[in-house]
Symmetry: C2
Subunit: 371 residues, 2 copies
Amino acid sequence: MCFQIENGFELLNGEKSGARRGRLTTTHGTIETPVFMPVGTSANVKGVLPDRLLQLEAQIILSNTFHLYLRPGHDRVKSFGGLHAFMNWKRPILTDSGGFQVFSLSRINKISDEGVEFSSPIDGSKHFFTPEKTVEIQEALGSDIAMVFDECADPNADESYIRESVNRTFKWAKQFKQAHTRPDQMVFGIIQGGTSEYFRKESARQITSIPFDGYAIGGLSVGEPFDITIGTLEVTTPHMPVDKPRYLMGVGTPEMIFNSVERGVDMFDCVLPTRSARHATLYTREGKIRIKGARYKDDPNPVDEQCDCYTCQRFSRGYLNHLYNKKEITAMILGSIHNLRFLTKMMGDIRKSIEEGRFREFKEQFFSLYR
Amino acid sequence: MCFQIENGFELLNGEKSGARRGRLTTTHGTIETPVFMPVGTSANVKGVLPDRLLQLEAQIILSNTFHLYLRPGHDRVKSFGGLHAFMNWKRPILTDSGGFQVFSLSRINKISDEGVEFSSPIDGSKHFFTPEKTVEIQEALGSDIAMVFDECADPNADESYIRESVNRTFKWAKQFKQAHTRPDQMVFGIIQGGTSEYFRKESARQITSIPFDGYAIGGLSVGEPFDITIGTLEVTTPHMPVDKPRYLMGVGTPEMIFNSVERGVDMFDCVLPTRSARHATLYTREGKIRIKGARYKDDPNPVDEQCDCYTCQRFSRGYLNHLYNKKEITAMILGSIHNLRFLTKMMGDIRKSIEEGRFREFKEQFFSLYR
């Protein structure tokens, strides 16, 4: 099966496993899916310059409405020619709507159907986000994909609150779609509903009734156990259109990625690869290692022997052990490059395995080593 | 005048200004002088990876005996194939002897003619450096240029102490030369003597009586006023052989570099370009700027319009202002690349001006803008 679909998403290849091989065309280029998006919260991927991101085959990066609105301000970014020019990144950018950050990083003063009043974590100043405001911000940033403003409710909230929140997310999604004007910017809706099968279905029904360019599953990166996350995903994806990209927000461990790809997810993002690298945890085919450990002091091998990244091609575990123990910035740079490449390479291998109809086999092979 | 001299130093071109254009050939390549050496204290230039250093035309970097002896240990570096292999730097490396660091960074327990007993600033453990020990360390590291172990005395010490210290530095220099075995490693002597004309002359006479591959002027980067430093330099260089490279240790401001080149100095190193960059001070042709300042928030220009570095070719002052104010690692990387390139470019321009016999003119032109 191979068919062209509107809005730039083309499903190249499905599998009985459920895994999908696709291609998403945006204003700044084409993205092969499934894809992992490195996170560049404040208009930069911490420690990894644009040319390195190209080198490690990052196809698209994620940046953040909430952070950029607060600093340096979306109007300022616009005056620099938009986010692509500001940060010198010529490939696609997806901007998160700020929904998740408003609820996780700021003090909420008031949530109503109109929007959210919150205090800036920087200086305590008051701000008000509405769906229309987050359209304005993201259109100013000029990302290739804008995310609707949603409410990311506490999954432990009671049923009546989840209901209210799901309905509000639907209302906001309609308003967002209505207010959106940039023809060169795609918009993705976000399905919420906590960990309730009922509300996930309900939210999926609501959000997918709006003709967005893609659909995301939000609220599943807030620390629930693996089984709950996968269970929630499993009851949600069957209610999403097959012909649009599906994005599982904030999720990026190899375990979650493989299991989500198997359930038909196309896009992922996560701060973990770079955050872990800054804290000396590096990915290898055999699992994560704590590179500061004494066992690596004399290790002449690269972090991962099969990795083709700048770091693994040039430096030993022993050298990284030294740099991390000395708390050198250089350690964080080298570690971040490696961890990002580990994931982009893994995604490339996943794509290839889907093309060749052997995704499950590859998954099994991957986890025979990785733990 | 152009003549070939032993030990790899070739003086291409002198000038009545006193400035010299030379070429130093080492095991890992040739260095055009006058040269600025970026500092990679702990086997890395903080935040700037080897390929970037090549890109910004770093010809040689400096690394540190004292730091590498303590961590990760010189034997460990040797087991990784030496410092070049350990840090993946294929061009020349100069290693400081540890003299300056023993006296500035550790608690000294005892100085005698035998050597220095000191406590590690990391864990308080006791160590003993002798000239022979610092030969052993530097031969293990495998740098292209090793520096003799010297005593970097407090310039405010009384005359009898300076005398003792100068004589000890001479004694240690002879022992160092005697103990040194690696034929692929050059050795530079270090002239001390505080700010006393008498003792500088005396030290120069002593140290240059030993046939080293080059001669350094130590003890002049410890915070004396500009005039004192230049005055001391002025009474020292006339007592140094013209046919050997001259290295002013730890000095790297544009003011000091131009004035020292004019007094016949060939080599410089300084942590300032990278340290300043980490603290948001960037070099421009018009002087240093504090990039975090509000005046740069909306500035679409590069840090320096005439700079060809990775940073200036891609990013605005406004973007750097944003990154620095957000305390992003990326800011430190971009700033360090720029500051180092600013100096390597300045040195290239200095070399060209000497070749063309217009060094003084160039100096005047440089400082008509730079302040």
